[in-house]
């Protein structure tokens, strides 16, 4: 069975290779029959990958979710002490499925909307490479291997932004994205090497069992600082988040979905999988800071969103991007409690955010495509009237985003805050209570701006009233194309899963909880 996991990682790469090899010749029309074939190839490969991950989930021994399954451990480069060690447990399984799902949906989405900027082959190939990198990151059980997969993601994402992004801002945004994250991962690598230098192994399972054995407190602190810094850039933790809004805003719809839905999870996943269990003393020292920064992120993200809503050139995608900063702040807060509840909450935030924000970006893309602008002031409002189903879906996603009970966004935030109410022994309880309160205010602010979006975009009085600058009289009710068949296919699963995860949180928590407890208990 362990070969299935390998196939899951390799299949997207194979698809990417096929797509690149089938690149239409120079000068030939990029979007002819070749483009169509490319789209179906992408759908086929990402679909097959999704099917396999579902099969993995089905074959996953839920009673033993705490231990690694489908493991493969082969020496890759003995001189570096690098092993090709992959496997999944309850923590990585949901993320794996989420990744495969979102990639598949992006591929499906491309059936309807071919992004402009380059050949379709290349676009889908990059998406598939990205998927392979993320899947590998979630499956890797060797520090260097983790780092490798972490890096694999960079180049495809760079090109997705730089080639298919919004003209004018994509170049600098792509650079900002890649330089920030590379700097982070380089520092993270140093942390890994420091760990290895003192423990003699890169193996995550062994290190988890060891829980800091062999490393002095000083080494643990240094290593944690390095590792957490690298991951925090990816999360992104306030104040290292500045690359995120630009990248999101500039990226094409598919890129934004993957960036928000999948890539950001690598950061929190790394913190949960590596930083906390491997370097417990470092984690204990820095947990309050992480929590504080996370909470600042929550409040800050919300405030920026509110400000953007009010500004005449507030960008819908940028608002969603900043909402991500807030949501990931909850994940950080959850992790920083170092309690099973908090970490479970963080994982749930990951899933929920992946589903909801993915949906939001899809919708934002759809709105942009249909109305021609992504500036809230220019979309024109009255989406309910112009494209009722689209408007309704956007309202649903926004409501899910504010964490309405019964939807996927709720449980994660609740668990994270619950964890903060009663953090692990040794952490400063009053501080966490204060942070809890701040996070609570953050949820209120989140609700405020999410509803603001609904009001301005879906209900809204119309263009003229919002933006007096644009004096030209626009037809007040100009119907927009509503949801099409492909859109149903691409967005439907997200809607369904948002509801399912909201109503039946145990579906996720049952898998994650044992693994989290095992992790915090030193793997025993």
């Amino acid at each position: 069975m362990s070969v299935v996991l390998l196939v899951v990682i390799a299949l997207p790469l194979l698809g990417a290779a096929l797509l690149l090899a089938g690149q239409p010749a120079a000068g030939a029309g990029a979007d002819g029959a070749g483009g169509r074939r490319a789209q179906w190839t992408g759908v086929a490969f990402s679909g097959a990958t999704l099917a396999l991950t579902v099969a993995l989930a089905a074959g996953f021994d839920r009673d033993d979710a705490r231990s690694m399954q489908f493991e493969t451990d082969k020496v890759w480069a003995s001189s570096l002490d690098l092993h090709f060690h992959v496997g999944i447990d309850g923590i990585s399984l949901p993320l794996l499925v989420l990744t495969a799902l979102l990639t598949f949906l992006v591929a499906v989405h491309s059936l309807g909307t071919v992004p402009a900027g380059g050949s379709t082959n290349a676009y889908l190939a990059l998406v598939l490479v990205l998927e392979a990198g993320v899947l590998g990151t979630f499956a890797a059980l060797d520090l260097i291997l983790f780092f490798l997969f972490f890096e694999v993601v960079l180049i495809p994402m760079y090109f997705l932004i730089a080639r298919w992004g919004t003209p004018g801002e994509r170049g600098p945004a792509a650079f900002k994205f890649i330089l920030y994250t590379l700097l982070g991962s380089a520092v993270m690598l140093l942390g890994f090497l420091l760990v290895q230098a003192h423990t003699g192994t890169f193996d995550i399972t062994q290190l988890t069992v060891g829980a800091g054995d062999g490393m002095s407190r000083g080494v643990q602190i240094t290593a944690f600082l390095a590792v957490a810094l690298g991951l925090a850039v990816k999360v992104p933790m306030w104040p290292l988040h500045t690359w995120l809004p630009d990248a999101h805003t500039a990226a094409p719809t598919g890129g934004s979905v993957l960036l928000a839905g999948v890539l950001l999870k690598m950061g929190t996943y790394g913190l949960i999988r590596i930083a906390v269990p491997v370097l417990p003393e470092g984690a204990e020292l820095f947990a309050p800071y992480l929590a504080a920064f996370g909470t600042v992120g929550i409040v800050y993200g919300s405030l920026v969103c509110l400000a953007l809503l009010r500004s005449p050139d507030g960008d819908l995608k940028r608002v969603i991007a900043y909402s991500s900063v807030g949501h990931m702040g909850f994940a950080l807060l959850g992790i920083a409690t170092l309690t099973p509840q908090g970490i479970n909450g963080a994982l749930f935030v990951n899933i929920g955010h992946g589903l909801i924000t993915g949906l939001l970006f899809f919708l934002a893309g759809a709105v942009k495509e249909r109305s021609g602008s992504v500036l809230i002031g220019r979309i024109g409002g009255s989406l309910y009237a112009r494209a009722p189903r689209l408007g309704g879906l956007l309202a649903f996603a926004a409501v899910a985003g504010l964490g309405l009970p019964g939807l996927a966004g709720f449980w994660g935030e609740l668990l994270a805050m619950y964890g903060a109410y009663d953090p692990a022994a040794g952490l400063d309880r009053p501080l966490y209570r204060v942070l809890l309160a701040a996070a609570g205010i953050g949820t209120v602010l989140t609700a405020a701006y999410m509803l603001g979006i609904v009001r301005k975009v879906c209900a809204g009085p119309g263009l003229g009233a919002v933006s007096p600058v644009a004096a030209e009289p626009v037809a007040r009710i100009e119907p927009l194309p509503d949801i099409g068949r492909v859109d149903v296919l691409a967005w439907g699963p997200l809607v369904v899963l948002t509801v399912v995860a909201g109503l039946w949180p145990a579906s996720v928590l049952a898998v994650t909880d044992p693994a989290v407890r095992a992790l915090l208990g030193g793997g025993s």
Partner: protein, 546 residues
């Protein structure tokens, strides 16, 4: 070990007629450089008697000599250390041999010879009358016979350098490496070659003089030129001589620092690379530099090891400077003039910095020093592949687009997918990002050495530099994939002025040797990315540096 050592030190002291003062030479050990030297002579003579189109044979002879040298390396790879040209044994000192073939030597010789072979491939259209050369190559006016002779002579020096274990052989090999290289740079007869050669030459001879002065002081302080004996003598040095020895060590290292283009001894590099024929620039940046690092490794790692606590921090600063300056200026070139070769020149300076990093850990605690220095060897091997690959593509493109600007590469993917993809791969290797895993592994290796050596600040500086470096490599890579500038006139032959001139398919012809060179580098790169252990095993060779 097939070394016959006469017990007599001085010829005049030989009282017994039966004793031979003539040493047996381990011919197998010296065969690779010997093959190169013989090939050089054959090229020189063949040049005299081959006329017209048959001059193309010169390149093949050159390639044949290098291939023979490669083959001759095979029997040496039996795990034994072979030493020859040894000093008379002396019970109080270490063996003292001038020429030693061990794993270190073999790895570097392999890298050097293979790199030189790739350079020969790259030079073929430039030096051969037919079938690859056309009017574009004729303009360069590089004479084939001299070129290949000089190349082989220089390669002989390089191959000998990494096997040398005494200061004397080291110096002679270094000069054998350098002197033909000056001439190679100057072979381009359009004035730029002369200027490049003159700058390179003046800087180099001054550095050689400094190096020699350092060596003379080291010799005076220790009384020997054999590296291992120098080390032994330095550990038990008369305190009055310590200043002399330290000065000597500093000057010697400074001389080598020039050779490997470490900042602040790097000024010659960009101008020289720019002015030299591109294959020669490739040669300088790979073969000459690798050999220089080989010498530095030998001197620092063996002879001056007792002074590791002194040169360690100094080289650490040098490494940090080299990386930072190299990368920053490269960024400036990428955003400024956009000259491809100049960018590669600065990038190679930055890469030198990475190679120097393990040296910087010498003063640190932790694992064995030679294990850390092995990281430099591994990096050099990987660097040779990726840098040669990049230079190969630049040579091929530069043949059609003599302006040599980054903008020439815009849309290369459309015009020539294969070289463009290869170039992207090499650039990402240099940057150290997937899919260029080879470069990534090499950098991880170096990082590992630094972390193991406990020189944290250097690791951080290098991490920052990797990020800076990424910028310009990525600019270049992005250009490869960028669509040709819309509205630019379709690139016809003879319109080098227009931007985006590579748009038209077929505008760029890649002759067979170029294609071969690129393919070799690419395949090697992919293989090393998938199976890095092939190179990285040098890390685990016990006592790589004696």
């Amino acid at each position: 070990m097939t070394v016959a050592i006469s017990p007599q030190g001085m010829p005049t002291a030989s009282a017994h007629d039966s004793l031979s003062l003539v040493q047996d030479i381990d011919w197998a050990a010296v065969a690779p450089p010997l093959a190169l030297a013989v090939a050089a002579l054959v090229v020189l003579l063949a040049d005299l008697f081959l006329a017209g189109p048959r001059k193309v044979w010169l390149a093949w002879i050159s390639l044949g000599g290098l291939a023979a040298a490669l083959v001759l390396l095979l029997p040496l790879n039996d795990g034994d250390t072979r030493a020859t040209f040894c000093a008379p044994a002396n019970p109080t000192t270490t063996p003292g041999c001038s020429y030693v073939v061990d794993d270190f030597t073999l790895v570097l010789q392999l890298v050097l010879i293979a790199s030189a072979a790739v350079v020969v491939l790259l030079s073929m259209p430039m030096t051969a009358p037919r079938p690859w050369a056309d009017e574009r190559d004729v303009d360069s006016g590089v004479p084939g016979g001299e070129y290949h002779f000089l190349l082989l002579a220089s390669a002989t020096g390089a191959v000998t350098l990494v096997a040398a274990r005494d200061l004397l052989t080291l110096v002679v090999a270094l000069e054998t490496l350098s002197l033909p290289a000056f001439a190679l740079v100057g072979l381009r007869r359009d004035g730029r070659g002369g200027e490049a050669a003159l700058k390179y030459f003046l800087m180099s001879v001054a550095a050689t003089a400094v190096l020699l002065f350092g060596i003379s002081l080291l010799y005076g302080a220790t009384g020997t030129v054999y590296l291992d004996r120098v080390a032994a003598a330095l550990t038990a040095l008369d305190p009055r001589l310590e200043t002399v020895a330290a000065t000597g060590a500093a000057l010697t290292l400074a001389g080598f620092a020039f050779k490997v283009a470490a900042v602040p001894f790097h000024f010659w590099v960009p101008d020289t690379y720019r002015g030299a024929p591109v294959p020669v620039a490739a040669y300088l940046s790979v073969v000459s530099k690798t050999a220089g690092f080989g010498g530095l490794l030998l001197v620092a790692g063996i002879a001056l090891r007792p002074y590791a606590h002194v040169w360690g921090p100094a080289l650490a600063v040098l490494a940090a400077l080299t990386m930072t300056v190299g990368n920053l200026v490269a960024v400036r070139v990428a955003t400024g003039s956009g000259d491809a070769v100049r960018l590669l020149a600065w990038s190679s300076i930055a890469q030198s910095g990475y190679v120097l990093v393990p040296f910087g850990t010498a003063a640190g605690e932790g694992a064995d020093l030679s294990e850390r220095l092995s990281a430099s060897v591994a990096y050099l091997a990987v660097y040779a592949v990726m840098n040669l690959g990049a230079f190969a593509v630049v040579t091929a493109v530069g043949r059609d687009r003599p302006t040599g600007l980054l903008s020439d590469y815009r849309g290369l993917l459309r015009a020539r997918p294969a070289p463009a993809l290869a170039m992207a791969f090499f650039l990402l290797c240099l940057a150290g990002l997937p899919p260029g895993l080879m470069g990534l592994f090499a950098k991880v290796t170096v990082f590992q050495a630094v972390v193991a050596g406990g020189t944290g600040w250097l690791a951080v500086v290098m991490a920052v530099n990797v990020v800076i470096g990424l910028y310009y490599y990525l600019v270049w890579t992005a250009l490869l994939f960028a669509p040709p500038v819309p509205g630019a006139p379709p690139a016809a032959e003879g319109t080098p002025e227009g931007p985006g001139t590579l748009g038209a398919a077929g505008a760029l012809r890649v002759p067979m040797p170029f294609a071969l060179a690129i393919a070799v580098a690419f395949v090697l790169g992919v293989v090393l990315s998938v199976a890095p252990q092939i190179v990285l095993q040098v890390l685990t060779v016990p006592g790589l540096l004696g």
